[in-house]
């Protein structure tokens, strides 16, 4: 393989360029010679150089850098015009040196800043929530910057377009619930209580949770990705500088749409889950349809139903607030949007579970 010849004579490193010098691999020996403390000057001679490419330029550039760093002389004679020009161009702007030095904090300090950070994040989240709840109040009276079309688009997206997937998944969950329940109840010969089990399970909590998890993955993620991309495209900056409140213009339509849609989706999930249970009960466990219906009806209670709806309503808030919050605070590149979407879904699900625990505790205390 072609490589430039070189020799060291009386402290001068002479590099000879000749022949075909294309696709030259990095000559480690040459750079070592240049770094050698004996070397006091680097001289490049060109004789009969026929062909060259960027690899040769990069080697000369590196030699030049070494000579600068070691403060020794560098001269190049007879370089082809183009090569000389590229070399000059590469040296035109001095190397950028970063002056930012990050000092490592002691452990206690780091723990402290971590705590303060966490507190600030909670505070920021709380402000965001409060701001949007207030905006939702104004939205109800129609005095906001939110556009009706945005609201209708969001409503369509998290309403009619989500019906299929919510129906399918809740039907399957009802089915599974019935199967698993039947195995246990069979041992007591109490198979018919499968109906009660599925009904109570679905309407009190499972319907809302299933709808919530589906919507967090589907709509919460989409909110975060949309708003994150708007952040990347400087659309959110434009809104802010125009004085349009971001929470009203972007968050509110989505928040309102999901808060309206979630209870309805919850009802749908309840119904489809019960249907799934009936499918197993009547067709596979041979429980007479009338019996199944009677036990379901006995288990069905208005309280359970409303507790389920309330869950759905709260989940609507949580999912849309998480999606919008992480979208608006997304990083300004493709990666940032990905991270924001992940966080929106994870945070949405975690807060939903926390809320469920809290509501269940309250119901228990209140004896509901």
């Amino acid at each position: 393989m072609a490589t430039p010849d070189f020799e060291i004579k009386s402290s001068v490193l002479t590099v000879r360029l000749g022949g075909n010098l294309t696709h030259v691999e990095s000559p480690a020996a040459l750079f070592q010679a240049a770094q050698n403390l004996e070397t006091k000057k680097i001289s490049v001679l060109t004789e009969g150089l026929k062909a060259w490419d960027s690899t040769l330029v990069s080697i000369l550039f590196e030699l030049q850098n070494i000579s600068h760093a070691r403060k020794i002389g560098f001269e190049a004679k007879g370089l082809p015009q183009g090569l000389a020009r590229l070399l000059a161009l590469a040296q035109a702007v001095p190397q950028h040196v970063d002056k930012v030095v990050v000092e490592k904090e002691p452990l206690l300090d780091r723990l402290g800043s971590w705590g303060i950070n966490l507190f600030n994040i909670f505070l920021k989240g709380w402000h965001f929530t409060a701001e949007n709840l207030a905006a939702l109040g104004r939205f109800a009276t129609g005095k906001t910057a939110a556009r009706k079309v945005d609201f209708l688009f969001a409503l369509e997206d998290c309403g009619p377009k989500a019906l299929g997937i919510v129906s399918l998944i809740s039907f399957m969950v009802g089915l599974i619930l019935a199967f698993v329940g039947a195995i246990q109840l069979k041992t007591f010969g109490a198979q018919v209580y499968v109906a009660s089990l599925v009904t109570i399970g679905m309407i009190r909590i499972m319907g809302a949770i299933m709808a919530g998890i589906i919507m967090a993955g589907r709509t919460g993620a989409s909110f975060a990705a949309t708003l994150g991309t708007m952040q990347v495209n400087e659309e959110i900056d434009a809104l802010k500088t125009m004085g349009v409140p971001v929470s009203e213009f972007l968050v509110l339509p989505r928040l309102a749409a999901l808060v309206i849609a979630m209870p309805i989706l919850t009802m749908l999930a309840d119904f489809m889950g019960m249907l799934g249970g009936a499918f197993v009960g009547v067709l596979l466990l041979d429980i007479p349809a009338v019996e199944y219906w009677r036990y379901s009806w006995q288990a069905w209670g208005l309280t359970n139903f409303f507790v389920g709806l309330f869950h759905g309503f709260v989940f609507g808030f949580i999912i849309s607030l998480c999606g919008c919050y992480y979208g608006i605070n997304s990083g300004r590149n493709a990666d940032g949007v990905g991270v924001a979407t992940t966080k929106a879904v994870v945070a949405g699900i975690v807060w939903m579970i926390i809320a469920t625990g809290f509501i269940t505790f309250c119901c228990e205390r209140l004896g509901i």
């Binding site: 690899t55 550039f61 183009g82 161009l89 590469a90």
Partner: protein, 254 residues
């Protein structure tokens, strides 16, 4: 003798039924700095998308180094695209990689140079565009103009024979813009690279252009073909004249 690097014949550019350029015939010669001129919306970026293989021509075809590009098989297309560098309007850098990794990517993919050689080439390319020492920065951490220059460093990584530029000087200050013009000229002359440049900048057009075409939005066609200086001397029609003199006329009357 100069040879034709890119030849387009009866080339039509369209998005589905929406025709942007009815028909275009032109030839880019080896070592040209070929300027694609035209008003906003005249289809310059769309033409570039066709020439870089991102979109098939609606009708007609074009040859790169004598090969019918749209008709070629995937392997031939890849071989041709290896000889081509592209600078996208906003840089097109991969945001999850540092500048050095961005520039190294085509080298790692298409050459068998050792890591040390690749490192040196990356250093050189970044230094050529004035980003010496920015190796470990992420695209999100540098300015718009720097992104553009880093994109150029990546476009130059493989010593391409043809480099396409979409609005290289948009968003740059006058000094950076002139520097970029000089850089393009230097690359053109020292490496013999053919450059195809979409630009509105009159200064750039006259400073670097050796050949070019003018696209007209109203007639959806190519209304002029030649060296910008010649087009200014003998403008083939009013639109071209207005386009090429706008700045100067304004200066005179001001």
């Amino acid at each position: 003798m100069t040879t034709d690097k890119i030849v387009a014949k009866n080339l039509q550019v369209a998005y589905g039924p929406k025709v942007i350029i009815k028909t275009a015939d032109f030839a880019v010669k080896q070592n040209d700095i070929f300027i694609i001129m035209g008003g906003s919306g005249s289809g310059k970026s769309s033409l570039l998308r066709v020439l870089t293989g991102l979109m098939p021509p609606a009708k007609g075809t074009f040859w790169v180094d004598g090969t019918d590009y749209p008709a070629a098989d995937d392997e031939t297309k890849l071989e041709i695209m290896k000889k081509v560098g592209i600078l996208y309007q906003s840089g097109g850098l991969f945001s999850s990689m540092t500048l050095a990794e961005n520039v190294a990517l085509p080298l790692q993919k298409y050459t068998d140079y050792s890591p040390a050689t690749i490192d040196e080439l990356v250093n050189l390319k970044l230094a050529l565009v004035g980003l010496n020492g920015y190796n470990d920065y992420y695209p999100a951490e540098i300015s718009g103009g720097m992104k553009k220059r880093a994109g150029l460093a990546r476009a130059l990584a493989l010593d391409p024979e043809i480099v396409y530029f979409d609005e290289p000087s948009a968003g740059l200050d006058p000094i950076s813009s002139t520097r970029l013009d000089n850089l393009m000229k230097d690359i053109n002359q020292s490496l013999g690279t053919t450059l195809v440049v979409v630009t509105h900048e009159l200064d750039s057009i006259f400073a670097i252009g050796t050949n070019g075409i003018f696209l007209d939005a109203a007639s959806k066609s190519l209304t002029a073909h030649g060296n910008p200086h010649d087009l200014l001397k003998n403008p083939p029609n009013e639109t071209v004249y207005n386009f090429l003199t706008r700045g100067k006329e304004d200066e005179k009357t001001a």
